[in-house]
């Protein structure tokens, strides 16, 4: 009797539940679509006014209503590059340590440590960057300081992705290398790295995307200098998200539209990086 009731009642409930889950899943696509559409619409006034100059000019002046984002795009890529150069060797080293070297009892505390690094709020890193790192280490507010802070922030992200990828290396491969007389490092270069290459590239790309979009820490330490197109790492500069965060408060309508246009450019840039990264990671998982 009880079972009969279960089946009898559940037909409509079943369909309703199924559709609820479909709607929830579709929300991801809806939000991404709305982000792209609504922001592009708000950015149009400036994009129409400036045309391609929005991307090729490095002059950004609210007083003259001239908005060229080149210097900010450069600053974003440059700080992200500094961050990657610093973060990748450390992340790889830590991931290899956890998976290949650490004794079993140490693995879990290590993973906790990485989690805690990842969860320190970006504004706290920024505060520390402004008041401690830039003052006591002579870096000032510069590309270099921003790069170091971004590196600290993306290292845990790259590490935990790299760890997941590396852990999928078949134990038999590793044992075969050891049985052939390989040292631990030879075993790593012969089996672990070739096996995880794709996934590791994906992890680094995801880290790159994160570094490019990181706002608050960069806004606090990068120095907010306009029109800086220099590779001198100790110069003050600016990055796209930092400009948005710092200038929004005193922006009028067209200026706001320019900042939204900047966000659209940042969105496109990070989406491209993330599409490539996701594609690489998913391809790596399948094989």
């Amino acid at each position: 009797m009880q079972l009969f009731e279960l089946r009898g009642r559940s037909h409509h409930a079943d369909t309703a539940f199924r559709w609820t889950t479909i709607i929830a899943a579709t929300l991801v696509l809806v939000i991404l679509g709305l982000v792209a559409a609504s922001m592009t619409q708000r950015a149009l006034p400036v994009l129409q006014k400036m045309g391609p100059e929005f991307l090729t000019s490095s002059k950004w002046s609210a007083a003259e209503d001239h908005y060229g984002a080149l210097a900010f795009i450069f600053g974003t890529l440059y700080t992200a590059l500094i961050a990657l150069v610093l973060a990748v060797p450390v992340s790889l080293g830590v991931a290899l340590f956890i998976t290949q070297v650490a004794p079993r009892w140490l693995k879990r505390p290590m993973i906790y440590l990485i989690d805690l690094c990842a969860v320190v709020p970006s504004v706290v890193w920024g505060l520390w960057g402004v008041l401690v790192l830039s003052q006591h280490f002579g870096l000032g507010r510069s590309f270099a300081t921003a790069g170091v802070i971004l590196a600290v922030m993306i290292t845990p992200i790259i590490t935990s992705l790299a760890r997941e990828v590396i852990e999928t290396t078949p134990t038999t491969d590793k044992e075969a290398a050891i049985a052939l007389g390989a040292t631990r490092w030879e075993m790593i270069t012969a089996t672990v790295l070739p096996h995880s290459k794709g996934g590791l590239v994906g992890a680094v790309m995801l880290g790159l995307g994160r570094a490019m979009g990181e706002t608050i820490a960069a806004a606090l330490v990068i120095g907010s200098a306009l029109g800086q197109l220099t590779v001198n790492p100790f110069a003050s500069g600016n990055s796209m998200p930092a400009v948005i965060a710092n200038e929004w408060g005193e922006a009028d309508d067209l200026h706001k539209s320019a900042l939204i246009a900047l966000a659209v450019a940042l969105f496109v840039l990070t989406i491209i990086v993330n599409l490539i990264a996701t594609w690489i990671v998913q391809r790596g998982r399948r094989t």
Partner: protein, 289 residues
């Protein structure tokens, strides 16, 4: 020439030792900034947060930033309000989305697209979500805690979907089959068998997402406003949050700097507490990975 594989101290074994030493050095390099930031936050924040306890957590923020005195109460309330509302929005939707992906969609084209896009969405910069919420919500309804919650929810949604789907994958198929064999419908199986089995993992994934969201500043920047008084209303009037207070504090004044460090300490303690709770849930996980 065949190398003597049994020799103890060849250049090969030395190279391996050197590389192992470099890996250990990498761990040290990873730990240094964390220890340094914790040291700064505790040594500089504890003074202002704990002097005249509990004033710092209950008093309003001084209206003039150079004025001495405690007060981050409204920011603590605001952070809890914004993060709580974001959790109530993002976690149920994220879990439902993951249920679709794993239990219904599986490897269909639509499910694969959603899965892919959810991964892409985790990479959307938080400042972009902040402006998105400004355009969609704040321009129409003005500053409120709810606007900030919407921004945080957008950031949390794909993370919750990802972690929940991973947990659903660990639920043995036999459990589902046993439920079907007893005559349960698919939705009843999911609600009464699959989700409870995966619950500790889902909770832990959600808590990690909440911890990360609680520290976010960028999505709140254009939506929440900068109130200095208590505001317990979710939908009306400007509110504030700990992260916003730190970002906007006028570091030229020692009093404001002290309050910023105190707020940083409170925020770090809050996020660490949630992260550690999440890990406790994971280690109690009924299902083994």
């Amino acid at each position: 020439m065949i190398p003597d594989l049994r020799a103890k101290h060849t250049w090969r074994s030395r190279k391996s030792t050197l590389m192992t030493a470099l890996m250990i050095a990498a761990v040290v390099v990873l730990a240094i900034p964390l220890i340094a930031v914790l040291y700064s936050v505790i040594s500089r924040g504890a003074g202002s947060a704990l002097s005249g306890f509990p004033d710092f957590f209950t008093k309003e923020i001084p209206a003039i930033s150079r004025r001495e005195g405690p007060g981050m109460g409204p920011a603590i309330l605001g952070t809890l309000l914004v993060t709580g509302a974001a959790t109530l929005i993002a976690v149920p939707l994220g879990v439902l989305g993951a249920v679709y992906l794993h239990e219904y969609g599986a490897s269909s084209r639509f499910a694969r697209t959603v899965r892919f896009m959810a991964m892409v969405m985790t990479g959307v910069p938080s400042i972009v979500m902040g402006l998105f919420v400004y355009v969609m919500w704040t321009m129409r309804f003005g500053y409120s805690a709810f606007g900030g919650a919407l921004g945080l929810a957008c950031l949390m949604l794909p993370v919750v979907i990802g972690s929940t789907e991973q947990m659903l994958r660990l639920v043995p198929t036999q459990l589902r089959e046993a439920a079907y064999a007893l005559g349960a419908s698919k939705s009843r199986t999911i609600i009464t068998v699959v989700l409870p089995a995966a619950l500790p993992g889902i909770v832990s994934g959600a808590l990690l997402a909440v911890a990360r969201a609680a520290g976010e500043t960028a999505p709140l920047l254009f939506a929440v406003g900068a109130a200095k008084a208590f505001n317990a209303h979710l939908f009306t009037e400007a509110n504030t949050a700990l992260s916003l207070q730190i970002f906007n504090s006028d570091l030229a004044f020692p009093a404001a700097e002290g309050r910023a460090w105190g707020a940083a300490l409170t925020l770090v303690a809050l996020t660490f507490l949630m992260t550690i709770t999440a890990r406790v849930f994971t280690s109690r996980l009924a299902l083994k990975r």
